[in-house]
């Protein structure tokens, strides 16, 4: 099966989950996105996108116990599935192929 196609935001999300490390929690993912990509994301967008990635089989999660600060409500810890990693890799390859040979044209203008 060919790797799934990833939209730009989906790529960013998967990368953020990977960066946060194994068992990433959604708020940490949001913080990572904001810190690194400068993308402040509404929680509605965040969770529905995570759900979509889960539907595509690129993410999975398991339940972790809640803490007092969250009134004991459970947490979901996300991990990127092997299919997710493959999709990311494919996206990167496509981008790299597209970039190839354009470095001269797209290099930062000198001031």
């Amino acid at each position: 099966m060919p790797p799934a196609y990833l939209g730009e935001f989906e790529q960013l999300l998967l990368l953020a989950v990977l960066r946060v490390g194994s068992d990433a929690f959604a708020p940490d993912v949001a913080r990572e996105l904001e810190a690194r990509a400068g993308r402040s994301v509404s929680r509605g967008h965040l969770y529905t996108s995570l759900d979509r990635l889960e539907d595509k089989g690129l993410l999975r999660w398991k339940v972790a116990a809640g803490t007092a600060v969250r009134d004991g409500l459970p947490r979901r810890a996300y991990t990127v599935t092997p299919a997710g990693v493959a999709a990311l890799r494919a996206s990167r390859d496509v981008l790299q192929r597209m970039w190839h040979g354009l470095d001269g044209l797209l290099k930062e203008p000198s001031r």
């Binding site: 529905t48 803490t67 007092a68 600060v69 969250r70 004991g72 409500l73 459970p74």
Partner: protein, 920 residues
């Protein structure tokens, strides 16, 4: 299935952990130390999330994440809450959209995605078209928000106080019982009667009794007054409430001579007993008697009002006074109706028992009846009418808002006929166009509803803060889902009904016809007539509201000008209560002498005294009496009754009351001197008309009971006893040493701000006795104000409504007239070109506008008179059809209408005929 670990493989450990965490956070909350506890999510947002998020662990986890993030943002609680609300909104929208998408995918029909797509298009088109007409949009949204906001707020009050069931099991079966004397006045229940009822009645699963019993709590750092209630042991069983800690009362606790036991409220347990489980078994010293705490009531438990301590009947059950059948000592009975029985059936059975008792004990029981009422309705008796009047008023306001919006939408629909016709001509189906108009109006009402919720929240906060002291169930008032539902239902109704007018018009026009005619800008005559009709209705509704507000304003004015019979300014009052064996009669008298000597010596104090019942606040001791030389009526219920009022020497002077004849009390009227009384003018007129009452004698109590005859030595002017709007009762003042009661109010006349002397006066009391609680400290002005709080609240709310209604009506009128002028620009231009004078043009336009206002006013007056009886019960000193009020209101409304018509009319006179004609 993707995603590992669902609920099933995390079962027991997760549950155990969750429970532990919940316990941790509970302890954390109790200690009040945890910083992250500060920010609580907005209730509305939480409610929204509960409905929008997916069920189960998915939704729970998102909620948990949000909570955690909210609490991490604790630097500014307000900002954190607003962040939370925004995220909740984004989540609800996204998930709703997600669900709709999934559903259309799974439906796999061709129509649905198209349909959704077209709705989406309509929505975007609607937003754009509203954005293009900002003034129109703002006026419409403001109108909707005000109407929906005000009605939601009042609905929340009505719902919380009147409609929502009491927080007890099966509350409709809880029945309140009291007795009624032969004159038809409500009485409390005599204890022996209650015992007989309980033994004989079958209609109830159980019958309990209880009465309020404020206690003095001593044995702690300082003596305090606590709100208490004595109840029979089965009281909590009947309510269906169990203690959260310890045990309930048992039958044994009610027996004569049983050990005194108490159940305390959760709040009291935390406050006074430091929330310690070891509090069970501890002793509380209440009125100098030791009660053992046997249990703690569940958190949030509340019977009628907050009560700290409930005690069982044991210590009181043997009191000889209580066992006297003629003594109605403040008890009320509470029964739980048997399942399937009606309250009428229970009433019939109790009445039969009461009749038997009347035959058995004619002396005390003849002519006495019972009264049964559901507990829910009993609790809210005092506020029901005010709330219903306000609810009616807000209904009018909502109607006005709807009419206004309809007017706006019709005007817009008329103006857009050209656009719609073009769309029709280009092949837009009728259904498609109508649906687009409906989407537009629904969007407007949804937006209006949302802003309205904000208005409602603000208004509700104000209303609750303003509500009269002692308003029942105020804690139950909140902006709740049912109120929100109400708001959105109202908004949707506005949208659909008034979206329908232009939609109908649009679908009724033939495309070509309007493309040709539409440019000349003529709204159909039909829509203009409709608008004028709606305008007339709006003016009529506004007039009804204005009349209501006007009547309430007159009422409050009358009340504030009532002659109270005393000087209320510069008067500080406070209550004391002498409880326990050590306060013998002599000790109380001596104590008061000493206290008042000290208080009078304080700088800024002019005089000080004490009285059993403060004026306005209501009499604490009503009793029948016999007047010398007057025939004793055959039937006992015809005996006169008076407010018996023990006062200390100097009371009349302190209150600034007027002596009519004779003398006032002095320190010489002591416990041992001859028995004397001072009476009020009302009693003098009633008992000895045309005679001189001085020197006459009267006796408190029944004719046959032995008692002391007291000589009338003075007559004072009437003072208001039971509130400003009540008639003054017969009143008998007795020197305190000759009838020393255990409850008293101090009154202190001051030369300075009375409130500033509170600490000094309290200190003077506590120097002499640190265990005597001083409570209910109020200035007399405050007492007066509180007594008319209900009327003040009604006046304020009605006034706000009336002003909004007047504003809406004048804006509406302005809109209709201005629109008429715009449509007739050409005609006016022609008239002016043909030599019409400008003042004629002015008169023409104003006349047409005013004719709507006059017609509306006439209908409104008729409506106000028809509805007047609804408000009658709230009025004082003014009739519900008071001509002066109606004339004033009509004058005001017509003046405003004149201004609203004059502005567009004046603009009409500025029409430049050449411009107007060239524009064609």
């Amino acid at each position: 299935m993707s995603g590992v670990g669902r609920d099933e493989n995390t079962g027991p450990t997760k549950n155990a952990k969750t429970a532990k965490n919940a316990e941790n956070s509970r302890l954390c909350a109790l200690s009040g130390l945890c910083v992250h506890r500060r920010a609580a999510p907005p209730r509305l947002a939480r409610w929204l999330l509960e409905r929008a998020l997916p069920p189960g662990v998915r939704g729970d986890a998102i909620r948990g994440d949000l909570l955690e993030e909210l609490r991490a943002r604790s630097r500014s609680a307000a900002r954190a809450r607003s962040w939370y609300a925004r995220q909740a909104l984004s989540l609800s929208v996204r998930y709703a959209w997600d669900r709709a998408r999934r559903r259309t995918q799974s439906d796999n029909t061709k129509r649905s995605p198209m349909f959704l797509e077209s709705i989406w298009q309509d929505l975007r088109y609607a937003v754009r078209s509203y954005a293009k007409a900002p003034t129109f949009t703002i006026i419409m949204l403001t109108t909707l928000a005000l109407g929906i906001g005000a009605s939601t707020a009042i609905f929340s009050m009505v719902d919380g106080i009147l409609l929502r069931p009491l927080p007890f099991a099966d509350p409709d079966r809880l029945i309140w019982v009291n007795e009624v004397n032969p004159k038809g006045n409500t009485m409390s229940v005599s204890w022996p009667n209650f015992l007989d009822w309980r033994a004989r009645v079958h209609a109830f699963d159980g019958l309990a009794a209880g009465r309020t019993n404020p206690f003095t709590l001593t044995g702690r750092d300082q003596a305090r007054r606590v709100d208490g209630r004595r109840v029979t042991a089965n009281f909590f069983d009947i309510l269906g409430v169990r203690p959260s800690l310890g045990r309930n009362f048992t039958q044994a606790d009610d027996r004569i001579g049983a050990e005194p036991v108490a159940l305390v409220s959760d709040a009291f347990w935390r406050r006074e007993l430091s929330g310690d489980r070891a509090a069970i078994g501890q002793r509380l010293i209440l009125d100098a008697r030791a009660f053992t705490v046997v249990g703690v009531l569940p958190i949030g438990f509340r019977y009628v009002r907050d009560t700290d301590v409930f005690v069982a009947m044991g210590p009181f059950a043997g009191d000889p006074m209580l066992l006297e059948r003629g003594n109605h000592a403040g008890y009320f009975a509470l029964g739980r109706l048997k399942r399937g029985l009606t309250i009428e059936a229970a009433a019939r059975e109790l009445e039969a028992i009461e009749n038997d008792l009347g035959l058995q004990y004619p002396q005390t029981n003849s002519g006495i009846a019972v009264h049964l009422e559901r507990l829910s309705s009993r609790i809210v008796n005092t506020v029901r009418q005010t709330l219903l009047v306000l609810f009616g008023a807000v209904g009018f306001l909502l109607l006005i808002a709807c009419v206004n919006v309809a007017n706006l939408l019709i005007a817009r629909g008329a103006a857009r006929q050209h656009e719609l016709a073009v769309r029709a001509a280009l092949g837009g189906g009728r259904l498609r166009i109508a649906s687009q108009l409906l989407v537009e109006s629904s969007l407007a009402s949804a937006a209006g509803g949302l802003v309205g919720v904000g208005v409602a929240a603000a208004l509700l906060r104000t209303l609750v803060a303003m509500a009269p002291e002692g308003t029942p169930r105020l804690d139950d008032v909140r902006l709740d889902p049912s109120a929100l539902l109400f708001a959105f239902a109202a908004a949707a109704a506005c949208g659909i009904i008034f979206g329908a007018f232009p939609a109908m018009q649009a679908s009724g026009v033939s495309g070509q016809h309007v493309v040709v005619r539409g440019r000349s800008g003529g709204a159909s005559a039909r829509s203009h007539r409709l608008r004028r009709g709606l305008m007339v209705a709006e003016v009529a509704l506004a007039l009804v509201l204005l009349t209501g507000a006007g009547l309430m304003i007159r009422t409050v004015l009358q009340l504030t000008h009532v002659d109270t019979g005393f000087r209320a300014d510069h008067l500080l009052t406070m209550q004391v209560s002498f409880r326990g064996e050590r306060w013998t009669d002599a000790k109380r008298v001596a104590f008061l002498d000493e206290v008042f000597a000290r208080v009078r010596a304080l700088p800024g104090v002019a005089n000080a005294a004490a009285v059993l019942s403060l004026p306005i606040d209501g009499s604490q001791w009503n009793s029948v009496f016999v007047a010398e030389g007057q025939p004793v009526p055959e039937r006992r219920e015809l005996l006169p009754s008076a407010a018996m009022t023990p006062v200390t020497a100097g009371y009349f002077e302190t209150m600034g009351m007027r002596l009519v004849r004779g003398r006032l009390f002095t320190v010489a009227d002591g416990a041992q001197s001859s028995r004397v009384v001072v009476i009020n003018e009302m009693l003098a007129r009633r008992m000895w008309p045309g005679e001189d009452p001085l020197g006459k004698r009267l006796k408190q109590g029944w004719p046959e009971t032995p008692g002391t005859w007291r000589e009338v030595v003075g007559i004072v002017a009437d003072v208001k006893v039971d509130g400003l709007s009540e008639l003054t009762p017969l009143q008998v003042y007795i020197p305190f040493p000759q009838s020393p009661t255990s409850d008293l109010a101090f009154v202190v006349r001051t030369d300075v701000d009375p409130a500033s002397l509170q600490p000094a006066v309290e200190a003077a009391v506590h120097v002499l006795d640190r265990d005597l609680p001083v409570f209910s400290v109020r200035t007399m002005d405050r007492v007066l104000e509180a007594s008319i709080a209900r009327e003040r609240m009604a006046v304020l709310v009605l006034m706000v409504f009336a002003i909004v209604a007047l504003t809406l009506a004048s804006v509406g009128l302005y809109g209709v007239v201005a629109h008429g002028v715009t449509e007739r620009t050409h005609e006016i231009g022609v008239r002016i070109a043909l030599g019409a004078e400008r003042r004629h043009v002015l008169g023409l336009v104003v006349r047409q506008g005013l004719s709507m206002a006059v017609l509306g006013t006439a209908i409104g007056v008729a409506g106000a008179i028809t509805l007047s009886r609804w408000i009658e019960g709230l009025l004082f000193g003014v009739t519900a059809t008071d001509p002066a009020t109606i004339v004033a209101v009509v004058a005001m409304l017509l003046t405003v209408a004149l201004v609203a018509c004059y502005v567009p009319a004046w603009r009409a006179t500025r029409v430049d005929p050449t411009q107007a004609l060239r524009a064609e």
